[in-house]
Symmetry: C2
Subunit: 129 residues, 2 copies
DNA sequence: TATTGACTTAGAGTGAACTTTAAGGATTAA
DNA sequence: TTAATCCTTAAAGTTCACTCTAAGTCAATA
C-alpha cells in the first residue's frame, strides 16, 4: 500500500496531479484508510503505468477517461477498447513517421551548417597565418 | 513572388500565424510591394520550411526565434547554430525513443485485450449454441 | 469603380493540462 | 503529543501557440 506521496515519487506525477486525474476519471476506486487517506495498491500503480503510457504517447485526458470508463463497464466493451487502442497506435505511428521526416530535414541542415563551419574555420586559420 | 494567402496555402499556416511568426522574429526581411503588401520569395518559403520542421519536432517559438537571430548575425554564429541544432536533434531522438517505449507498452496491452476479446467472443458463441 | 484582400496595433479569447492558493479540518507516524 | 501529511471544495493562475476581433486605412484586381 502506498501513500499519495509514495505514488507521486514512483510516477513522477505530483500529488495534486494524482488527485486531479482521479477527479477527471483517469484512476478510480482507489482505497482509503479509515481516516480517508488514499492507499494505492500495486494494481493501481499498474493502471497508472498504462495511463502514463497513453498520456506520453499524446492521448488526451478526455480520451483516457473514456478508455477507463469502458474498462469499468466490463467485457462487453472489449471490442471498443481494442479499437480505441488500435486507432491510437496507428496515430502515434503516423506521428512518429512524420516526426522522423521533419527530423531528417533538421539533420540535413545540421550537416550543411557543420560543413559551412568547417570551411569558415579553415578560412579563419588561413587569415591568421 | 507569393502573397500571404499563397504562402498560407503552401505551408498550411494561416495568414494570421504568418504575421504572428514575423512579429515573433521567426521570419524576417520579407519584401513588400510599393503598397506594403508582403511578397514572399522562394527563399522565404525555404526558410519557412526549416522553421516548420523545427516547430514540428517540438522546438519552441522562442528557441526558433533565437536560431533565426543567430542566422542573421552571420558566420561567426555558425558554431552556436550547429550546437543548437545538434542539441535539438539529440533531444528529439531521445523523445522518440521514449515514445517508442511507451508505445510498446500500449501495443502489449492491445495484444492482451485482443486475446481477451477472442476468448470472450468464443465464450459468447458457445453460450449461444 | 466596386469588391476583395491586405495592412496596422493592441488586446482579448481559446484549449489543454496542469499548478497553485486558500481555508479549515482530520489523520498518521515517530 | 507533535510534527508532518492528508483531506476537501472551489476557483484562480500559468504556459504555449495560436486565433480572433476591432477599427480604420490602403492596395490590387476585374
Amino acid at each position: 500500500m502506498y501513500s499519495i506521496q509514495d505514488v507521486s515519487q514512483k510516477t513522477g506525477l505530483s500529488a495534486h496531479t494524482l488527485r486531479y486525474y482521479e477527479k477527471e476519471g483517469l484512476i478510480s476506486g482507489v482505497e482509503r484508510t479509515a481516516g480517508g487517506f488514499r492507499q494505492y495498491t500495486d494494481e493501481d500503480l499498474e493502471r497508472l503505468g498504462l495511463i502514463c503510457c497513453l498520456k506520453n504517447t499524446g492521448m488526451s485526458i478526455q480520451e483516457i477517461a473514456r478508455f477507463v470508463r469502458l474498462t469499468h463497464e466490463g467485457d462487453h466493451t472489449l471490442e471498443e477498447r481494442v479499437e480505441l487502442l488500435r486507432a491510437h497506435r496507428e496515430l502515434v505511428l503516423e506521428r512518429m513517421a512524420e516526426m522522423q521526416k521533419h527530423l531528417d530535414k533538421v539533420t540535413w541542415k545540421l550537416n550543411f551548417f557543420t560543413e559551412k563551419l568547417r570551411a569558415y574555420e579553415a578560412q579563419k586559420a588561413k587569415e591568421k597565418q
